[in-house]
């Protein structure tokens, strides 16, 4: 055993290495990115396990299925909204007969520090009827990653490890053990377990329902779901259910709570119904403290037979939105608010994130703004990435941000609804993630719209990971769609080209068919980083 300081994300990564994974896949997304970054770095230094970014979360999950199919252990990582992209293979994978452990580490973002929504991945685990483990600190994260692989192979299902931002991006000391060997290659002899033809899928679904009974029994007994202080025969005014980081915030307030309170902590799902019933029998009221959506709270009514007051997010005892905090839990427990310092007697202006100084997106957006002028009927859609910051002043260049790849499809819809001047803006990595399929649609229909690919050669927002294909190949891919070559244009977003870029964009907006403009200039941050690295290597 040795002690290492790790981010929550890194604890997953090292846990997976020690569990003997053969491969890991993912798509960058805050707060999950550092899991695969750690593994890619590990692979560079040790040669194995295989670790690589994929085009998107769906392809990552499918790659992982292939590794598992041939008997090896595999980790797949993404953020919560990434799981929407991977939902198809993910939900279906519950019906498979998993033999090589498959663990999905998914990081939720309550409070939307860096996301479009707050969705709670535990619902997805429940939807797919698989086990979900929810660690509350770095040590548990490491241990539960190891356990997740064991459970995956024990129940022959994928297992979800659910993190949240505050855990993913917090550091602490972790005691780690030794590395287990990889599984050997072994294709399943019986193929039904991996064939979801209706006839076989029906049987597999029955198998899953049988496994569900075993999983329920396991969760009911698991030491990961400890029930404390509920002594038989005694009735307490209050009982607590915590899950994930909710327990940390409860424990933070514990020294100030006067009486002994029964508490069930849940970190392994499906819900341990027996323990929930035991707790409820001992209490008059239950407060549920969970990070994310009120999943446990909503389920309680269906599990409990007796009439009992349940408090949590649904009755306003805890806030319905945002991250949990020690203070929100303090209020919920009825503890007196702490004396605060006097607030500054002045307005504090907000300090939102912004495009970096010298960012190529600035020049592209300025050119688009000028090309469109004051035409308020024009539509400019955009997407997920650094360039979404073009929504903020002074640019105010874009009008929609919905999900990865939506810009091109939405632009097509707006054009087909009758808008004359439609521009879709999308980054190169987002384009490759899920913009390309919409461009295929637009190319097939020769939709009168202009797609501007903001090609900075990197996944900027998550820290500058390499895009899956370089600029030259993105170009050839677009050409391969047989869009009129006269309307596939390139620009270099620089101040000195401002007038020319404005003119090109204006021409293409007026073209009564599909145009693609690739605006190519390297991300200012990766350019700086590469220059620094080159200088260091030069010194060495």
């Amino acid at each position: 055993m040795s002690d290492i300081v790790l981010l929550g994300d890194e604890a997953v990564a090292l846990g997976a290495v020690h569990a003997g994974i053969s491969a890991a896949y993912g798509y960058p997304g805050t707060p999950s990115t550092e899991i695969l970054e750690f593994l890619i770095d590990y692979k560079t230094r040790h040669g194995a396990p295989h670790a690589a970014w994929c085009s998107n979360e769906k392809t990552a999950y499918e790659d992982a299925l292939g590794v598992s199919f041939v008997g090896k252990r595999v980790l797949v990582t993404m953020k919560h909204v990434g799981l929407n992209v991977a939902a198809d293979p993910f939900v279906n994978s519950g019906l498979l007969n998993i033999r090589g452990g498959l663990v999905l580490a998914v990081a939720d973002d309550p409070g939307m520090h860096s996301s479009q929504n707050e969705q709670d991945s535990r619902f997805f685990a429940e939807f797919a009827k698989i086990i979900c483990l929810e660690p509350r600190n770095q040590q548990e994260t490491y241990e539960m990653t190891l356990e997740a692989f064991e459970l995956s192979e024990k129940f022959h299902i994928p297992v979800m490890l659910r993190l949240v931002t505050r855990l993913a991006h917090s550091r602490a000391i972790v005691k780690v053990g030794a590395k287990r060997d990889e599984n050997s290659l072994s294709k399943p002899e019986e193929k039904r377990g991996w064939m979801l033809l209706p006839a076989t899928a029906r049987q597999n679904y029955l198998d899953l329902l049988e496994k569900e009974k075993e999983m329920l029994a396991w969760a009911g007994d698991s030491a990961r779901n400890p029930l404390e202080n509920a002594r038989g025969g005694k009735k307490y005014p209050l009982g607590i259910i915590t899950s994930g980081l909710g327990r940390n915030y409860y424990d933070e307030n514990l020294p100030e709570l006067s009486s002994e309170i029964p508490r069930l902590h849940i970190s392994a799902y499906p819900l341990p119904r027996n323990k929930i019933r035991t707790l409820a029998a001992a209490c008059e009221r239950i407060i549920v403290i969970e990070e994310g959506y009120p999943l446990i709270e909503e389920k309680l009514k269906g599990i409990l037979e007796q009439d009992i007051t349940i408090s949590g997010k649904l009755d306003g005892t805890l806030p319905r939105t945002g991250e949990l905090t020690p203070d929100a839990v303090r209020r919920a427990l009825g503890l007196e608010a702490r004396q605060l310092r006097s607030e500054p007697g002045m307005e504090l202006p907000g300090r939102p994130p912004q495009l970096c100084q010298g960012c190529p997106h600035i020049d592209t957006y300025q050119a688009i703004n000028e090309a469109i002028g004051d035409d308020s009927h024009a539509v400019v859609t955009s997407d997920i990435g650094c360039y979404a910051l073009g929504a903020l002043p002074p640019y105010r260049a874009i009008e929609t941000i919905v999900c990865m790849g939506a810009s091109i499809g939405m632009a097509k819809g707006a054009a087909e609804a009758g808008v004359q001047r439609v521009v879709a803006t999308i980054g190169d990595s987002t384009f490759l993630h899920s913009g390309i399929t919409s461009l295929v649609d637009a190319a097939a229909a020769d939709t009168p719209m202009t797609v501007v690919i903001l090609d900075n050669g990197t996944v900027g927002m998550t820290g500058g990971q390499e895009t899956i294909l370089p600029t030259s190949r993105v170009h050839r891919m677009i050409e391969g769609l047989e869009i009129d070559p006269a309307h596939i244009r390139s620009i270099t977003p620089l101040k000195k080209n401002a007038e020319e870029n404005r003119r090109i964009i204006a021409e293409e907006i007026d073209h009564p068919g599909l145009s693609v403009i690739v605006s190519i200039r390297e991300c200012i941050e990766t350019a700086k980083r590469d220059k620094k690295k080159a200088a260091q290597e030069g010194q060495a």
Partner: protein, 194 residues
């Protein structure tokens, strides 16, 4: 013993590096450490805050409760004011003097200084000029650590060891300048306190 630090700043200033150096010094001291940071979108010139908790026992929450902070260490004066509610009535507030004026309307610096200094236990450090004196303008963050080190229950030796470790790969000259920045700033802080 427990000691809770709120670190504030603007994305790109190195707030997370400051947190990492203090955390590493705390580990050398044998303390338990939990450090919560912000990645992704918020780092791009936006407001950044990190909660750093040190203790000789277990630490439950990654987040410091309101009025729970023993020290609010800010790399930027406006950002110092943003997190006042996390500082305990008896805690220390240390802010760098120089503002990062990357927003359309930045309030008057005199007013900001006045607000900071009206808080009990508050101090403004002219980190730039101390860094210049130490021979490296890049050492501003180390100056802030030096200024705060007197309040934090970690020995001077452990701070120096953490700083040395941080700059080891940059060579002896850079290490030396940062060590000097720390010492100068610590000496200045002790002078201010007497």
């Amino acid at each position: 013993m427990k000691y809770d630090i709120i670190l504030a700043g603007v994305g790109g200033q190195g707030t997370l590096s400051v947190a990492a150096i203090i955390a590493s010094a705390a580990l050398k001291q044998g303390l338990t450490v939990r450090q919560s940071e912000i990645h992704g979108m918020s780092q791009r010139g936006g407001a950044v805050v990190s909660h750093l908790r040190l203790s000789d026992g277990p630490i439950d929450s990654d987040l410091i409760p309101l009025a729970g902070g023993d020290l609010l260490l800010s790399m930027e004066p406006l950002e110092a004011l943003r997190h006042i509610s996390y500082l305990s009535p008896s805690g220390s507030l240390i802010s760098a003097a120089e503002g990062v004026e990357n927003i359309p309307v930045y309030p008057g610096m005199d007013k900001i200084r006045e607000e900071i200094l009206s808080q009990p236990g508050a101090r403004i450090v002219d980190a730039r000029s101390i860094a210049r004196e130490s021979g490296s303008l890049k050492a501003v963050n180390i100056v802030m650590i030096g200024a705060a080190s007197e309040s934090i229950p970690i020995s001077r030796e452990n701070f120096i060891a953490a700083i040395d470790e941080r700059f080891r790969s940059k060579g002896e000259k850079v290490q030396e300048a940062n060590r000097r920045a720390f010492e100068l700033s610590l000496a200045e802080a002790c002078g201010a306190g007497s």
